[in-house]
Amino acid sequence: MIDIALSAKQLNVHYGEKHAVHDVSLDFAEKEVTALIGPSGCGKSTFLRSLNRMNDLIPSCRVTGDIWLKDQNINGSDTDVVALRKNIGMVWQRPNPFHKSIYENIAFGPRYHGVKNKKQLDEIVEQSLRKAAIWEETKDRLHKSALALSGGQQQRLCIARTIAVKPDVILMDEPASALDPISTSKIEELISELKQDYSIVIVTHNMHQAARVSDKTAFFLNGHVVEYDKTETIFTNPTNQRTNDYITGRFG
C-alpha cells in the first residue's frame, strides 16, 4: 500500500463572493508526482496555494475543509503555520530568488531553522545546489548576487532553496512556464530526480509536461475535480467526456 503524504478533504475556497474551489478531496501519494491540470481560472493554483496556507496572505480569501499532512491538520485554526510551512516547500511560476547572494539564498532557511555551524551550512548549500543540478554553474560565484543568474538558473536555485530546509512535500505552481525550452527540460529532469526523496504536487498548463513528469493527474474545471487517476489513464483512457475534450484540445 502506498503511503499518503498529503490529503485534502472537502476543501472549499472562497475569494470574497467567488467560490473558487468546490469540495475538492484529493490524496497525494508519498514520493510521487501529482499533476493538477485544467484551463486558466479553474482553481488549480488556488487549491495549490491552500496546501501551505499561502492563501492566508489574501485578506478576502476563506478556506474551509481539512488538509492532512500525516496526522496534522494543516487547515486547523490553531495550526502553527510557520512550523507547518517548513514541511511543505513551494516553487512559483516566476523565479523569485531573494535579493541576496546565491549562498545566502540557500543558507537563509536552514540557518533560521537552527543550523548555525558554518561547515554544516556550507555542506547543506553544496548538497542542495547539487540536487537542484546547479552546483557546477554556481560554485565559483556563491557570494555573487542571485539576481545575476539566468531565469532557468534562478528557478533551479529556488528549488535548491526549497529542498535546503528538507520539506516532505514540494508544491510547484507552473514552475517552467516562464522559461525557455532548454531550461524547461532541465526542470522536468530535476522533478523526476527529486521524486526519489520528495512528494511533489505540480500545477501545469502544459499537458505534455503533465504526461512526462507525473504519476497521477487531477483534472480541474470550474473549481471542481472532474477526474483524478493515474496519469496514463487520464491521458489515454479518461472516463469523463470533459476530460477527454480538454486533453484532446477542444477547449482550454
Partner: protein
Amino acid sequence: MSAKTADKIATGVIVFITGLIALALLGLLGYILFRGLGHISWHFLTSPPETIRKGGGIGPQLFNSLFLLVLTMIITVPLGIGAGIYMSEYAKAGKITSAIRLVVEVLSSFPSIIVGLFGLLVIVNKFNLGFSLLSGALALTIFNLPLMVRITEQGLRSVPVQQKEASLALGISKWKTIRSVQLPIALPIVLSGSILAAGRIFGEAAALLFTAGMSSPRLDFSDWNPLHNDSPLNPLRPAETLAVHIWKVNSEGLAPDATQIAAGASAVLIITVLLFNLGARALGRYMHNRFTASK
C-alpha cells in the same frame, strides 16, 4: 483671435511663468549664497555668537543642529519604521485601520508651531525635561513620525509580494521575513526618504522655539562627558539651533552685523539642506544600481 493664436500666447505664458519660477529659485539661492558665502569663515563656523558686539559666530548653533538631528533620528527611525511596518504588514483592512490612517494624516498636517506648543506643555513642563536637546528631539520626533511612517509604508509596498511568499514558504516567521527579506529591499526608499526628512529636521525652527529653547549656554568643547553641565553632549541642556538662531538674530538681534550673521547662517543652512538633497538622490541611485544592475 483665432484658436491658433490663443494657443501660441498660452504656450508663451506657460513657458514664461515656468522660467520665472526657475529664475526665482536660482535668484533665491544666488542671493543667499552671494550674501552669505562672503561671511563664512572658519572663525564664523566655530566661534560662539556675540550679543552686542561684532564678529560673533555660529559654532555652538551648528553643533546643536547636528547633535539634535542625530538625537532625533535615533528616536524617530526605530519608532517610525516600526509604526510603518505595522501599517503595511500587520494592520488588517477595516474601520480601525482607516481610523489610524486618518490620525496619522491629521498629525502630519499639524502646524509645527502646534507641535512645539505641545512639547512646551507636556515634554518641557509636565515631564520636566526643561528647555533641552532631549525635549527638542522629542518634539521633532512627533513632527517627523508621520513622514517616517509614510516612507516606510512606501518602501515596503515596493517589495514584490513574491519575495515575502518565498520566505514564508520556507517556514520563516513573518517578523523574520520582514526584517531579513522585505526591509533590505525597501532600504533604498527608506534611506533616501530619511535623508530628506533629516533635511527637514535640520531646517525646522518653530517646533524648537519652546522646546530646545532659544539660548545656548557656554559650552566646553573639551569636556565630552554627557553628564557634565557644560558638556556639548549633555542632552538636558538648552540648545539653540542654527535655524532658531537665524530667526532670533533677525527678529531681535542687537549685534551690528546681525544681517550678515543671518545671511551667513542661512547660507550654511541652505548648503547643508542641498547636501542632504543631493545625498538622498545619489544614495537612491547607487542603491538602485546595486540591486538591479548586478549582472
